[in-house]
């Protein structure tokens, strides 16, 4: 009895440290779990590995039966044409600069709005917040029709303006506002009181106190905005016409030779070039990506 009592707190601590240990403690069940996870991960990992290797295959090997993972004959035929058949470098730069502008401006716009909704009392605050929430329900595929009309009236077809302005100010900004609002709600009020006593105005409090503390929210919004913009496909498809203006996503679907035949390994190599840099960043900042994007509930 006594020994049991003595043991109990210890057990409890062990449980707290490893709360989920119990069902998988045996070596055999551990092995089963690893095996199951390994099998399940195939469709998530194989396409990426295959893509990197297939870029170096001659066309006939890409569809070889039985399928091969490693090229039997390594060739640079495909990848060497990535930048020559279409202005792919230009398209890559287009996507990069658009994504950077969208990310930076979005952070400012969303942080300002999120801060005001969280910390400032102003007229119509709840009503305006409701306006933002309701806009989330409107699908972008639907509102593109009038926006298409305005863009052509403004003479902005085949320019990057709609691709920059829509993600920053359109309904897509709402999620960013939510993230910042959520973050600023948790900020202790004493910080602002102290800053106000020091004579800072609202803008000063925001710029010098609140915003610099918002690192996690900034990271979450930055990751979401950059990925969304860099991976954008629908809007470029609607607004862009000429190859030089294309973004990468659109460019990827354009790899054809002079006869309209698809250039397999070139397309696969170009796809790899757009995916791999992002995967590498993800490798180093996994936690920020996973936690940041989980806040957004973003759908791919």
């Amino acid at each position: 009895m006594r020994s049991e009592q003595k043991k109990r707190p210890e057990q409890k601590r062990a449980r707290e440290r490893r709360p989920h240990r119990a069902p998988w403690h045996g070596t055999a069940s551990k092995a089963v779990l690893y095996l199951l996870l390994a099998v399940l991960s195939i469709p998530f990992v194989y396409p990426t590995v295959w893509m990197i290797l297939a870029a170096f295959k001659p066309a006939h090997e890409i569809f070889a039966t039985p399928p091969t993972l490693f090229p039997e004959e390594w060739t640079l035929d495909g990848v060497s044409k990535i930048f020559t058949v279409t202005p792919f470098a230009r398209q890559y730069l287009n996507s990069l600069y658009i994504a950077v502008i969208v990310t930076v401006v979005s952070i400012v716009v969303c942080a300002l709005a999120g801060y005001a909704f969280a910390r400032i009392r102003f007229p119509f605050r709840d009503g305006l917040f409701l306006v933002l929430v309701s806009a989330l329900m409107v699908p972008g595929e639907v509102t593109i029709i009038p926006i298409f009309r305005w863009v052509s009236q403004l003479g902005w077809m085949d320019t990057h303006w709609p691709l920059i302005i829509l993600p920053i100010f359109g309904p897509q900004c709402v999620v960013g506002v939510f993230i910042f609002r959520q973050f600023f709600l948790s900020l202790p009020a004493e910080l602002e009181e102290a800053a106000r006593l020091d004579g800072l105005g609202r803008l000063g409090i925001f710029a010098r106190i609140a915003f610099p503390l918002a690192g996690p929210a900034i990271a979450a919004v930055a990751i979401m905005k950059f990925l969304n913009s860099f991976n954008m496909y629908f809007e470029p498809l609607i607004f862009l016409r000429s190859e030089e203006q294309f973004t990468v996503g659109l460019g990827l679907t354009q790899f054809q030779d002079g006869y309209g035949e698809p250039m397999y390994s070139t397309q696969i190599g170009a796809t790899a070039l757009t995916v791999i840099p992002i995967l590498i960043v993800f490798l180093f900042a996994q936690r920020q990506f996973v936690e940041g994007l989980a806040r957004t509930g973003m759908k791919g």
Partner: protein, 311 residues
Amino acid sequence: MSGRETAATADGGPRRSAARRLARNDAAVGLAFVAPAVIGVIGLGLIPFGYVVWYAFHDWNPLLGEFTWIGFDNFDRLLGDDVVWGALLTTFTFTALLMVLNISLALLLAVLLNQRLRGITTFRALFFSPVIVSTVAWVLIWGYLVADNGGVNGALALVGIDGPNWLRDPNWALVTVVVIQVFKGVGMNMILFLAALQGVPGELKEASRLDGAGAWRTFRSVTLPLITPTILLVSIITMIAAMDVFVPIQVLTSGGPGRETTVISYLLYQTAFRQNDFGYAAAIGVLLFAVTLALTMVQWKWRRRWVHDEV
């Protein structure tokens, strides 16, 4: 009385007027801070939606320069249009299949990954990685793998199965797109479920186990009810995203092989930007919005039946 007033003026007056000044100032600053987002969302979301409704009552072909009021003609046409109803049915099938596969796989992965084992974070990253990859890239690569003589059929041939031409076979095209899309997005739902599972108090599971419940019984009766709020959230987000799926359809099948994968948003795109029938496309857009809204409200209303804890 007057003494009290003087005291108040001397004591709280300046502070109160300072507070009032600050409040007035706050009103202006607050409105200014939210202005870019609010004006943008109204101007690029709500007003365009109003225009879509307005356009739906017009015959509008920008190429011909037509824009004429035709009343409910577009909606009449909608009601009798088999292509639209077919696309709506395809959208429902797509959404239902995707939700079932995505949510059950996400839950399974979350349960498997909710262990403190070496290397578990690596697996978490592997399952999550397609989320950050662009949809175009993801479906392009899968398009190669599910081609008639691609890797999937090659692997099936090794075990003696003669696989179909997944995207060209009318029976398989939609399912194939769903599965590719599930692999793309399931990592996100997995993470949301994982967070919910980690919020389930260990004592409850322990208590259930002490009562003699097995692992499955504990999961079914303790864990699952406690994470129903997350399941509701995940199913609403997943549904809304599935209802207006576009990119995988456009890149993989262009709505084909016949019309088997023509979902509503793809039909809308074709009607507007390929056939220049913008008025009719607007009517289809109104339909898509109404259906999505109705389904979301149904899910929200039904939550009391199965969601454990009110959020």
